[in-house]
């Protein structure tokens, strides 16, 4: 890198040179922490690689780039890189490729866009901001970290592909939108929040769901015996929800015209959750 290019910046492009031998922990490597840094300074930042700390320059080529605000752009297959955007509190991160586990976990503000797929526990305990995954997400997305009580608790989480099992487990606030299929135990133990799914769902959907809303924009699953229909007019809240989801386009674009059936449950867990079945 020439000294002329090694200037202070608040946005950087990081190109992965080779797959790390072990998992690389990118937690804490967020745009706001790098404001005013130089590319060489960024490259000297230490990351955990397995159980040793190594400079990020060992794995990435770093260059400054022009941007409106704090931003990081990663290029390459980051599927062995975990914790990207963990605790993000502002700024933008873009991954042009796949990413590993825990992407966007605990993020509070800002935006993360992943063009590829994400590993396990994406958006777990996310509290704000916007996370979009262009591909699939693994199990336990939008859920809680092992041992914690609450899953995703705010913000907007968009999955363009498929979701793994236990999506939204213990989620309690925020909106999650899944364009593809969802695995087993979707919205299990859901405390609150909204999950909209355009694809098919696996077994035991809504298991132990306490409150919150599930919207099925595509195939309409058969509600389990612990969910019961309510016969009242829900057009007001439905219109508010449908108009909000319409901005995502695709199968969510025309929901407002539908008149959904509503089921409440899980009756084994207070029964204040709802399924909205518009077709």
């Amino acid at each position: 890198m020439s000294p002329a290019n090694d200037r202070d910046a608040n946005a950087f492009r990081l190109r992965l040179r080779a797959q790390p031998a072990l998992r690389l922990d990118l937690a804490g490597f967020v745009p706001q922490a790098l404001g005013g840094e130089t590319p060489s300074g960024v490259a000297r930042r230490a990351l955990w690689h397995g159980n040793e700390q190594v400079p990020i320059g060992e794995f990435f080529d770093v260059e400054a780039m022009a941007a409106d605000g704090p931003e990081l752009v990663f290029e390459g297959d980051l599927s062995r890189c975990d914790g990207l955007g963990r605790g993000l509190d502002g700024g933008r991160i873009r991954v042009e490729g796949d990413v590993g586990d825990y992407v966007g976990s605990g993020m509070r503000a800002g935006e993360i866009v992943v063009t590829g797929s994400a590993g396990l526990l994406a958006a777990c305990e996310m509290a704000g901001g916007r996370l979009e995954v262009g591909g699939d997400v693994g199990d336990y997305a939008a859920s809680a970290l092992p041992g914690d009580m609450d899953g995703m608790r705010g913000g907007l989480f968009i999955v363009r592909g498929k979701a793994g099992a236990r999506f939204g487990d213990r989620m309690r606030r925020g909106t999650a939108v899944v364009f593809g299929d969802a695995g087993d135990f979707l919205a299990s133990r859901l405390v609150a929040g909204t999950i909209a799914v355009a694809g098919a769902v696996g077994a035991h959907c809504g298991y132990g769901m306490r409150r919150g809303t599930l919207i099925f924009a595509g195939p309409q699953p058969e509600p389990p015996p612990t969910f019961v229909p309510t016969g009242h007019d829900v057009q007001v809240i439905w219109t508010l929800l449908a108009r909000s989801l319409a901005v995502h386009g695709g199968p969510f674009a025309a929901l407002a015209a539908a008149r959904p059936r509503r089921f409440v449950g899980d009756l084994a867990a207070d029964g204040k959750g709802e399924w909205l079945l518009p077709a």
Binding site: A192, T194, H232, D233, V234, I237, T239, L241, R243, S244
Partner: protein, 312 residues
């Protein structure tokens, strides 16, 4: 009387005086319902008995009817504005009026009609009314706004949790001095039609017009306000100080509350223009305004300036 005081348009004299208004706190609510009829029922009830803060707790009125495409839930609606002297008074009035007049009205839902600045004070809308649900109420956060869904006998009552409270202006006014009742009413009605076409203002009195304009104080110690004797035709030959001449037999006042200084000024301007357009032939002699010598409120609306005739 100076030349400026003799401003006359179409035979109607515009007094060289000013209306004096004062700061208030306000919010806009949007009420929707299954059809326009029920939205209107709720709005009329909510804005009832809200002519003056002197005894009503707030001043409120229907701002305009909303088409389905303009409301958050795609149903017919009505926008109402509510003004009080403080945020605390406003909060109390919102809770009482929405609770008794909107929650109770079939098929209605209620939302804030103001975006407000990010740091705006907010007051409860559905936040406390939700407890009517006795534990069955549920909330839904959509795009950062929290709505409460309260089970009721026709389905569920949806209410946005809070509404912004903004600084506003109350007490803008016009006095229409006419030869007789018919002429005064006709001019006032024409002014009301013109003023109600503007956004961000309400005319809180019945039909937008008040015939009992008041002055501050009274000979009776317990009364904070009393009849504005200077503008009462019955007292023209009797009162120590009268603003009327013998040819004035009826005076009507229009009070304007607006979200901003400019909104009140615009309403007063179109109101005066509507009156003078009818001309002296319609029986109107003068247009004046009520004030307290400029000592009470920070907002002063000079009639000549509003008509672009300052210094004429």
């Amino acid at each position: 009387m100076s030349a400026a005081a003799m401003l006359e348009i179409n035979g109607v004299v515009i007094d060289d005086t000013f209306a004096e208004a004062f700061p208030m706190k306000a919010t806009r609510l949007v009420i929707t319902a299954h059809n326009a009829t029920w939205a209107n029922h709720a709005a009329v009830a909510l804005t009832g008995f809200a002519t003056s803060v002197i005894a009503c707790g707030c001043e409120a009125g229907i701002e305009r009817v909303l088409e389905p495409g303009e409301t958050p839930d795609g149903r017919p609606g009505v926008a109402v504005l509510i003004f009080s002297m403080s945020g605390k008074d406003l909060a109390k009035q919102i809770e009482r009026r929405v609770g008794q007049c909107v929650l109770t009205c079939p098929t209605t839902a209620v939302y804030t009609g103001l975006d407000g600045p990010p740091d705006a004070d907010r007051t409860a809308l559905g936040k406390n009314l939700r407890f009517f649900g006795d534990g069955w109420q549920i909330s839904k956060v959509i795009d950062g706004r929290r709505y409460w869904r309260v089970p009721v006998m026709d389905g569920e009552f949806v209410a946005e949790e809070t509404t912004p409270v903004v600084k506003a202006v109350g007490g803008g006014n016009l006095l229409i001095l006419a030869h007789d009742t018919e002429a005064a009413l006709g001019a006032a009605e024409a002014a009301v039609v013109a003023m109600r076409a503007l956004p961000n203002v309400i005319l809180p009195f019945p039909g937008g017009v008040v015939r009992s304009g008041s002055k501050i104080g009274s000979k009776y110690a317990s009364l904070p306000a009393s009849s504005n004797d200077a503008f009462c035709p019955a007292l023209t030959p009797l009162a120590k100080r009268t603003e009327l001449s013998a040819e004035v037999g009826c005076v009507m006042e229009i009070v304007i509350d607006g979200l901003t200084d400019g909104d009140v000024a615009a309403a007063m301007r179109v109101g005066m223009e509507a009156v003078v357009a009818r001309g002296a032939a319609a029986g109107v002699r003068r247009i004046s305004a009520g004030n307290y010598g400029g000592k009470l409120g920070p907002y002063l609306y000079r009639l000549h300036a509003l008509l672009g005739k300052e210094g004429a």
